[in-house]
Symmetry: C2
C-alpha cells in the first residue's frame, strides 16, 4: 500500500479503498484472513484506530466479516454491488431550436432574479435537521404545514376561500391535471377558451377528454356559447386570460358561476397561474372567492413565480370532489419531496415570497413600461392589448401584413415574436394579425434595442404589405 499522507482523502479511506479493490479484483480471496488491526497499523506506520476505521467501513459495506476471537475474513463478495463509473454515453443531440438575438417568449421568467441566497439558506436549514421524519413517506395531499402556508397566502393575496384540507400539492400543473382527471372521471366534456392556454388543452386531449372550444368576447368566455356547447366543465383563466390578457369582469364571473349551478355535475376549473403580476390597480380576487356552491376547482403554481424547475403546483378542491378524493384516491403518493415542500413553506412564511413578488413585479413593470414606450411610434399601425398585467402583451396590426409575414420579418432581424394563431384551437380565417411580445426574460436595454428594430421592420411592412395587397 502506498499511502499519501498529504492527500485530501483521509488515511483510513485510502486503506479502505486499497483493500476493497484487492477484494474486488480477487487479489485477496474469499475466506482469506485479513491482517490484524495491530499488525497492519504497525506495518503501515499509522495509528491503530485508523486501521480500525477502515475495517469498520469494509465491515459495514459487507466486504469483510468479523469472527469472534478469530479476526476479519473476506466475504462472498459476488453478492455485493460493484458499480463502476462508465464512460459517459454520447451526449444527447441538442434539441433543435434556433437561438435568437432577442426572444420575446411569452412564457419566459427572469431567472437572474431567482432568490439564490434565500433558497440555498432555506435548503441548508431544512436538511440540517437530521430528522428521519424528513425522509419518511409524506402526506398524500402534501405536508399539512405547507398546505396551511398556501391557504394563508391564497386567502391574503388572491381572496381564495379555503382550508388547508382542501389543498392538494403536486409536482407541476400537468400532474395536477392528471390527478384531477382521476377524481373527476372521464365522462365529461371540457370547454376551453379559444384562444387558449394550449398546455392544459393538450393535457385534456391526451387524457382522452371530449373537449370543445368556446369563443371569447371582451369579457372572456362567452357563456351563451358555453351553454350551447354541451360542456359540463369550463376551463377558464379569469384573472388574466391566456394569451389575450382579458381580465374577466365581475358580471361575467357571476354569469359563469350561475351556469355551473344549473346542473349538479358542472364545474369550473379556474387556472390562476398568471395572476401574480399586475401593474395597475389592486389585484382582482379569484373567482373561487365568489363561489357559494362548491363549483370552482382552483389551480395555482409556484413554478411560474419562483422558477420553472421548481415543481410546485396545487389545487383547491370544492367539497364534493374533496370527498371523492378522500374516498378513492388519497392512496396516490405525493409527487413533491418533503424537502422542497418545507423549503417553500419557509419561503412563504418568512417573508421571502412577498419580497420576491414585489421585486420581480417592479422589475417586470419597468420592462413593461419600456416596451410600451418603445412601441409608441407604431401606434398608427397597431393596437396594444393585454397590458397592465402578466409578462407579455399583444399587438394587433392593421398594416396589411399577415401574422406569418410579421413573424418572418422579425426573424430576418434575428428577433423572435409569437403569433396569436398558435394559441387558437379553431381557425376562422377572419382573425386580425396579432403577435405576442413577452418581456420577462429581456432587460430594459434589450427591449429598447429590439423594439427599435421592430418599429423599422413592421413600419416598412405597412407600405410594402399595403402595396402587395393592392397588386
Amino acid at each position: 500500500m502506498n499511502l499519501k499522507s498529504h492527500s485530501k482523502v483521509p488515511l483510513y479511506e485510502q486503506i479502505y479503498r486499497y483493500i476493497k479493490a484487492d477484494i474486488q479484483n480477487g487479489r485477496i480471496a474469499y475466506r482469506e484472513k485479513l491482517p490484524s488491526t495491530r499488525a497492519l497499523s504497525k506495518h503501515l506506520e499509522v495509528s491503530r484506530s485508523t486501521v480500525e476505521l477502515a475495517y469498520e467501513q469494509l465491515l459495514s459495506e459487507g466486504y469483510i466479516e468479523a469472527e469472534p476471537y478469530r479476526g476479519f475474513f473476506v466475504s462472498q463478495t459476488e453478492e455485493l454491488y460493484r458499480l463502476e463509473r462508465e464512460k459517459p454515453k454520447a451526449m444527447a443531440m441538442e434539441k433543435p431550436g434556433k437561438k435568437y438575438r432577442y426572444d420575446f417568449s411569452p412564457s419566459g421568467v427572469d431567472l437572474r432574479s431567482f432568490p439564490y441566497n434565500a433558497w440555498r439558506k432555506l435548503s441548508k436549514d431544512v436538511l440540517m435537521d437530521d430528522r428521519t421524519e424528513l425522509f419518511r413517506f409524506g402526506d398524500s395531499q402534501g405536508e399539512y404545514g405547507f398546505r396551511s402556508a398556501i391557504s394563508s397566502y391564497l386567502h391574503q393575496a388572491r381572496g381564495v376561500n379555503c382550508s388547508p384540507k382542501q389543498i392538494i400539492v403536486g409536482a407541476g400543473s400537468d400532474y395536477i391535471l392528471m390527478l384531477l382527471s382521476m377524481i373527476l372521471g372521464r365522462e365529461h366534456r371540457i370547454a376551453f377558451e379559444d384562444p387558449a392556454y394550449k398546455q392544459a388543452y393538450r393535457m385534456a386531449e391526451a387524457l382522452s377528454y371530449d373537449t370543445v372550444p368556446v369563443s371569447l368576447d371582451k369579457s372572456g368566455m362567452k357563456v351563451t356559447e358555453l351553454r350551447e356547447s354541451g360542456a359540463d366543465i369550463a376551463y377558464v383563466t379569469p384573472s388574466h386570460q391566456y394569451p389575450t390578457g382579458i381580465v374577466m369582469p365581475i358580471n361575467r364571473r357571476m354569469e359563469l358561476l350561475r351556469w355551473a349551478t344549473e346542473e349538479e355535475d358542472r364545474y369550473i376549473i379556474e387556472d390562476d397561474y398568471d395572476s401574480e403580476y399586475r401593474y395597475k390597480g389592486k389585484p382582482i380576487p379569484a373567482l373561487q372567492g365568489y363561489d357559494a356552491h362548491e363549483k370552482v376547482i382552483y389551480l395555482g403554481t409556484f413554478s411560474r413565480s419562483v422558477a420553472p424547475a421548481i415543481r410546485l403546483s396545487y389545487m383547491v378542491l370544492p367539497g364534493p370532489l374533496l370527498d371523492a378524493y378522500e374516498e378513492r384516491h388519497d392512496f396516490v403518493h405525493s409527487t413533491v419531496s418533503k424537502v422542497d415542500q418545507m423549503i417553500m413553506q419557509r419561503f412563504l412564511e418568512e417573508g421571502y415570497y412577498e419580497r420576491h413578488l414585489n421585486k420581480t413585479r417592479a422589475l417586470y413593470k419597468s420592462r413593461h413600461d419600456a416596451l410600451l414606450d418603445g412601441l409608441k411610434p407604431m401606434s398608427d399601425i397597431m393596437t396594444v392589448s393585454g397590458e397592465n398585467a402578466g409578462v407579455h402583451l399583444l399587438l394587433t396590426f392593421r398594416n396589411g401584413c399577415t401574422e406569418e409575414e410579421l413573424i418572418e420579418r422579425a426573424e430576418k432581424e434575428d428577433i423572435r415574436v409569437y403569433g396569436l394563431s398558435d394559441y387558437r384551437i379553431r381557425r376562422m380565417g377572419d382573425e386580425r394579425p396579432t403577435i405576442l411580445l413577452g418581456y420577462a426574460n429581456l432587460t430594459e436595454e434589450q427591449i429598447r434595442e429590439a423594439v427599435k428594430i421592430l418599429n423599422r421592420c413592421f413600419g416598412d411592412g405597412m407600405r410594402q404589405g399595403g402595396a402587395g395587397r393592392m397588386g
Copy 2:
C-alpha cells in the same frame, strides 16, 4: 427610528423595515418625498451607504420610486403584495393509526441509515452554482446526464439493456404509471399477479383499466392462466415477487416473453422495485435484459432504496412506446426538480449509491439472519418462505390458527404483523394462513425480543387453536 446596532439584523435592513412599515401603514403617504440619503444618514448617525442600501431595497421592491434630480417618492403601494403571517391554522387531526411496540411493516425502510451527510453535501454543491440553467424548465424526460447515470447503473447492476433516451424520470411510481397509461391508452386488459403489489393494482383500477388477477405457482405468474385471461398487458415483479418473494426462474421468464410476442400489442410491465437486496447468490438480471422483441416496460425507483420522501422513479420504454411518447406526449413537463435530479446523479456517479446499497444490504442481512434464527423454535408449526431477498419474509402456519387469529394474538402483545390476505385480489377460501414480517425498520435487538414473544403467542396458538378446531 430606533436602530439597534447590536442586532443580528443589519442596519440597512432595519431602516428598510421601518420605512416599509410606515408606507404600508400610511404614515408616509403616496407621493410623499423621502428625506435625502445624506440627510437621513446624518440624522440616524449611520453611513450614507447604509441608507442608500435601504433605499435600493425599497426601490427594487417597488415601495418607492426615484425621480431624477428630485429624489425618492412613495409609490402607489396598494398594488404591492403584503403578506402577513397569519395565525397557523388549527393542526390537522393526527391520522388514526396505532403505534405498536414492534411493527413488522413489510414496506419499511431503515431511515437511520439515510446518508444525510452525503445528501447534504451534494445538495449544497448543486445549489452552489449560481447557474440560471438549474432553474429553467428541464427536459420532459428528465435531464440527460441523470438518465445517462441511471442507464449505466441499470446496465451494471440489473443487466438492463437500454440507452438514456429510453428512460423517463418521474416523481414516484404512481406518477410513472399515470404517464405510462397516457402512452398506452385505455384500451387494455392488465393482468396482475395474485397476491399482488396492491398500490399498482389500485392505480390501474383508478385509471379505469380492465384488470384481471392471475394465480401464481412456485415460479410466479401462471402463463397458461394469463393466456386464458384475455389480458394484453402483464404486470409482474420477476426479481422478487411482491409479496410472496418468488424469484421467477429463467424458463418462466422465457415463457412470459413468448406470450408477449404472440400478439403485436402485448406488453410486459416489469416492476423491479424491490431488486436491490439479495442475501444469497448473485443478483438475477432483469427480465428486460432477455427481451429481444421490445416487449418489456421496465419500472424502477430510488424512493425505496434511498428514502421514500425522495420522489425519484423511472421507466425504460421499448422502441414502439418510445416513438408514441415522443410523438404525442413529450409536451408533459417533468415532475422532478432539476436540483433533485442532479443530486441523485452525483450520488450515483460518485460512488455514494454503491456504498449506500452495500451498507444497507449488510444491515438488512443481519436483521434477516436474526429474524430467521429467532424463528427456529416455531419450525414445527410453520414454514418460512420469501427469504434470501427483499426486506420481509413470509410464515405459513399449520397450527390451526386462522390468519386473523395470528394477527390478533400478536396485536395483544403490541406487535403488528401483516396478513397475506391483504395482498390477495381474490379470496378462494382455501388459502393457508400466512403472515408477513418486514424487518427493515427494526434493529436486530428489537427483532430478537419481538420474535421471542411471537414464538410464545403463536406456539400457544397451536394447542389452543387445535383444541378450538376440535370443539
